[in-house]
């Protein structure tokens, strides 16, 4: 593993991209960042600007409004930037696919590196998803 990749896996700065979720997934993400789970142990930190992000956490079903924004956000991020789809909604639209406002799933808008299923996924599941992603990066 080269130095660049190693440093990346040791220091993941996440940016929270909420694409019209029901807000439950976001609350679970915030749970992950609380002292109880303490992801700063692994160098994971929440950042304010997408330019600083290494991982985009996408929640919710992108609709006509947010799909464009998500695309723009991904384009604005400094590469390498990975996308993690959190929750059933981001994983494919789930029960909202027949909705009038639905256009396409997240992974057809931006390349998704990992999916964390669940409605909402538990904090443990989110951490496991991120860890699996980091392990796959190492290979």
């Amino acid at each position: 593993m080269n130095l660049k990749l190693k440093a990346l896996t040791k220091s993941i700065w996440v940016f929270h991209a909420a694409c019209s979720p029901c807000n439950n997934c976001d609350i679970e993400i915030l749970d992950v960042l609380t002292p109880r789970y303490d992801v700063e142990r692994f160098g994971i930190q929440l950042v304010g600007s997408v330019r600083h992000a290494d991982v985009l956490l996408v929640t919710g079903v992108p609709n006509r409004k947010t799909a464009e924004r998500l695309k723009a956000l991904y384009a604005q991020a400094a590469k390498p930037c990975l996308v993690v789809a959190i929750g059933q909604c981001a994983g494919g639209g789930c029960m909202f696919t027949p909705s009038y406002n639905y256009i396409k799933p997240v992974d057809e808008i931006v390349p998704v590196a990992a999916y964390v299923p669940g409605c909402p996924p538990k904090p443990e599941a989110i951490i496991m998803g991120v860890v699996k992603l980091l392990k796959s990066l190492g290979k």
């Binding site: 303490d38 950042v47 330019r51």
Partner: protein, 307 residues
């Protein structure tokens, strides 16, 4: 040749950078312990830096490119120079030049100015919001900071950092007197604002204006800013130690004592940062121009009467 060594390796760029990385870890670890967490591993700030160096550098389309690229480096160079001058005053107090206290004060203002210029150059509305807050903050804390430094200058009757440290080695610490103690509190608050730490971090309020002044910086440029912050985390507390808690760092024991004093000041800073919520910019200005400047003026008056 020797000066270049001082500036680039010890005690300048390399040593200060390494100590700054350690101080940043110390800050995060203490913060974590205060919040009942375990906290990041020792090398975390270094990992962050290396990662940032390996990432893409994005140049915003409307930015004025040269300013955007050059000013972060100006700030880094200034902070490294400031910290090497301060270190050298501890190591060789008889050297140095007359007025180096003022040079250090000005040099420590440069990182803030370079951040302001660079973020205005990035042509982002939130960045200019952050930059304008940084300007106001700079205007509000510089006056009490200089007044607090003046207290020690009056006592020691010297405008050389080395002279101040000598004076304290002979006559007891600067913080020991009544005026010195007040001035130390003032200077501590000002250095908190200088470092952009929590009650005064409105320039990069990440939950409010999304990292503000830093919003457009990515990859290597962000790493430069981070390193500047690490260096300032060494320079500003060390300057306080020089003014108020100075000792001549001749032997290894004295040097260790110096580092311990420095870490104690950093610890105070971290505790302030963890026990206060962020102020609005107008509150911060009122705070610095009102009570803090008043306190500093009282301290200067007391010092003139020899208290």
């Amino acid at each position: 040749m020797k000066d270049l060594f001082y500036y680039l390796i010890f005690p300048g760029f390399l040593f200060t950078g390494a100590l700054g990385i350690f101080a940043s870890w110390f800050d995060r670890k203490i913060t974590a312990r205060v919040q009942w967490r375990k906290g990041p591993p020792l090398l975390q700030p270094l990992y962050d830096l290396i990662k940032l160096l390996g990432k893409e550098l994005i140049l915003p389309a409307n930015s004025s490119l040269w300013t955007f690229l050059v000013f972060p480096i100006v700030g880094l160079a200034a902070s490294a120079l400031a910290s090497s001058i301060i270190w050298l005053a501890f190591l060789f107090p008889e050297k140095g030049f007359v007025g180096d206290v003022f040079v250090v004060i000005y040099l420590m203002g440069l990182p803030a100015i370079s951040l302001i210029v660079a973020s205005f150059a990035s042509a982002n509305p939130l960045a200019s919001q952050g930059a304008s807050r940084e300007i106001k903050l700079l205007l509000s804390y510089e006056l009490p900071f200089i007044l607090a430094a003046l207290v020690v200058l009056i006592k020691a009757q010297s405008i050389k950092l080395g002279g101040l440290i000598f004076y304290q080695a002979v006559n007891g610490l600067g913080i020991g007197s009544f005026s010195g103690a007040i001035a130390f509190i003032v200077a501590l608050l000002c250095s908190q604002a200088k470092l952009g730490l929590v009650p005064f971090d409105m320039a990069e309020a990440e939950t409010e204006i999304m990292a503000g002044a830093y919003i457009e910086f990515s990859g290597p440029l962000l790493a430069v800013f981070r390193l500047t912050k690490f260096m300032m985390l060494v320079a500003a507390p060390l300057f306080l130690v020089g003014l108020f808690l100075g000792n001549v760092a001749a032997g290894p024991g004295a040097f260790l004592l110096l580092i311990l004093k420095y870490l104690a000041v950093v610890l105070l800073t971290v505790l302030i940062r963890n026990t206060n919520p962020r102020l609005r910019i107008d509150q911060a200005m009122k705070f610095f121009w009102g009570p803090v400047t008043l306190l500093a003026a009282v301290a200067v008056t007391l010092a003139l009467f020899g208290k």
